[in-house]
């Protein structure tokens, strides 16, 4: 039986100077961290920066990870979340995220779908998708449009709900791990997740009524909204 070593074991070896262990750790967790930042920010370049920052923390200050408080995965998502929120806030000073999503969504049928293995996520940025294209071009386009609509709806969620939805429903973290990453109680996380999904359902419904404008729908008022 050949089991992969746990991220914690790999980190211990990497900290002791084992480069192969660090590479294995990176390959095991970087995808999730990158996709989390991507779904949170919609910007592949920013997501890559966040991924780098997260692993630089492990390289430079591995002692920050306390195994008694959280799993390494939860810790990394927590670091990624902090970096992502800071980056989003910095970006929003120049180009409000929702408006940019709206602009992208306005012409989604032409410009925002998957194209030749490239996923546009926000204005001026795209990321290569390694999965092969679906043979039927018409179905493929429709499927991509639908997925892109969901992606924009997620991106348009308030960050406090977005992170809960992304961690639990897209990254499939357990409630416990997601709560550790967000440094909140599992009950709070569940509440945010339910509220986020509720908003998401509303936005997707609005997108059904008005295709291509999922990102343009205003959020319903929320008790927890805003940090």
């Amino acid at each position: 039986m050949n089991q992969d070593p746990s991220p914690e074991a790999l980190l211990r070896r990497a900290t002791a100077g084992d480069e192969d262990a660090f590479r294995a750790l990176y390959r095991q967790l970087s995808g999730g961290v990158f996709r989390f930042a991507l779904h949170m920010a919609g910007n592949p370049s920013l997501a890559e920066d966040v991924t780098q920052e997260v692993f630089l923390v492990l390289i430079r200050d591995p002692g920050r990870f306390d195994p008694s408080r959280a799993s390494l995965k939860a810790f990394l998502f927590g670091v990624a979340r902090n970096h992502t929120l800071r980056a989003i806030e910095k970006e929003s000073r120049f180009a409000p995220y929702v408006e940019r999503g709206t602009a992208a969504g306005a012409d989604s049928s032409e410009d925002s779908g998957y194209r030749a293995g490239t996923v546009p996520l926000s204005a001026g940025s795209s990321v290569h998708l390694s999965e092969p294209a679906i043979p039927d071009a018409g179905e493929d386009l429709l499927r991509r449009e639908e997925i892109d609509r969901v992606r924009r709806a997620v991106l348009a969620l308030p960050p406090v709900y977005r992170e809960a939805v992304v961690l639990c429903d897209l990254q499939e973290l357990s409630y416990e791990e997601a709560a550790q990453a967000l440094q909140c109680a599992p009950g709070t996380l569940r509440s945010r997740l339910h509220r986020g999904r509720e908003i998401l359902a509303d936005r997707l419904r609005a997108g059904e009524r008005n295709p291509g404008h999922a990102g343009a729908v205003r959020f319903p008022a929320s008790r927890e909204e805003g940090r």
Partner: protein
């Protein structure tokens, strides 16, 4: 492709339980969401008793049934997005950059560690060399002292310290006593006397000679006579001191013959 509004799963519950005031159905909402999420994952995990009750309630409550359908639709949409993006990875450049940073960081640590080891090793080696040298010197001087003392006790040699020029005035204060050591130079000595009465000098196997001056009045304690009228004078003596610093024996410098002075 697009489902009708009534069948797309995104219609709000008829009771408007989500946005309105609390209703009896509110208590089932969390459980229904969990049911919708776990159903989408296709997991076989056991449904909690609360979820079973929520499902039973939804079967008879149109609002909750619609909520369940809506939640399942959201779960399905999110699963599609997750699946579509599951292969997205950071670029190869990202990994290269991090590996370079790792090598630099760990290399720096290794270099620092090596430097510390080198300095510590050099210091330890220097310390060992110094310690060894000190031990050698100590052993040599100890053996030399041992040999000198042994031979002194046997009256074979005269210590270097005793070569000093005699204080003629002081020497003349000692009279009598057997002369055990003959002198090639200017000084002659008495035998060694145990410093502490009754001490066994044969047990003394190492030590050093220290030239001292003692009052003539002390000579009487060792059975020596002091010339009349010179009790206040001082005479030279060699004190045999053990390695622990304790005096073991003493001998006195005999006065030079009167004739040589004249």
């Amino acid at each position: 492709m697009t489902p009708s509004r009534s069948s797309n799963g995104f219609d709000p519950p008829a009771s408007d339980a989500r946005a309105g005031e609390a209703t009896p159905c509110d208590r089932w909402q969390p459980a229904l969401v969990e049911v919708a999420r776990s159903a989408q994952e296709g997991s076989t995990q056991a449904i909690s008793g609360e979820a079973v009750e929520a499902l039973q309630h939804a079967a008879s409550c149109p609002a909750c049934r619609e909520l369940l359908v809506a939640e399942r639709a959201v779960t399905a949409e999110l699963a599609r997005l997750s699946s579509a993006d599951s292969t997205l990875q950071p670029s190869v450049g990202c990994e290269s950059t991090l590996l370079a940073a790792y090598r630099q960081e760990r290399g720096g640590e290794v270099r620092t560690r090596r430097w510390i080891f080198a300095v510590a090793g050099t210091l330890a080696a220097s310390l060992l060399i110094l310690l060894g040298a000190a031990l050698l010197v100590s052993r040599d001087s100890g053996s030399m002292a041992h040999a000198v003392v042994y031979r002194l006790l046997r009256g074979e040699v005269r210590p270097a310290s005793s070569v000093a020029a005699p204080d003629s005035g002081a020497q003349s204060a000692v009279e009598g006593g057997s002369s055990a050591a003959t002198s090639d130079d200017e000084e002659e000595f008495t035998d060694f006397y145990a410093y502490y009465p009754g001490a066994d000098l044969s047990s003394v196997d190492s030590g050093a000679l220290v030239r001292v001056r003692v009052p003539s009045s002390e000579l009487g304690a060792f059975g020596l006579q002091v010339a009349q009228g010179r009790e206040d004078e001082w005479v030279n003596a060699d004190l045999l001191v053990a390695e622990d610093g304790s005096p073991q024996a003493i001998r006195f410098v005999l006065p030079a013959p009167q004739s040589s002075k004249d």
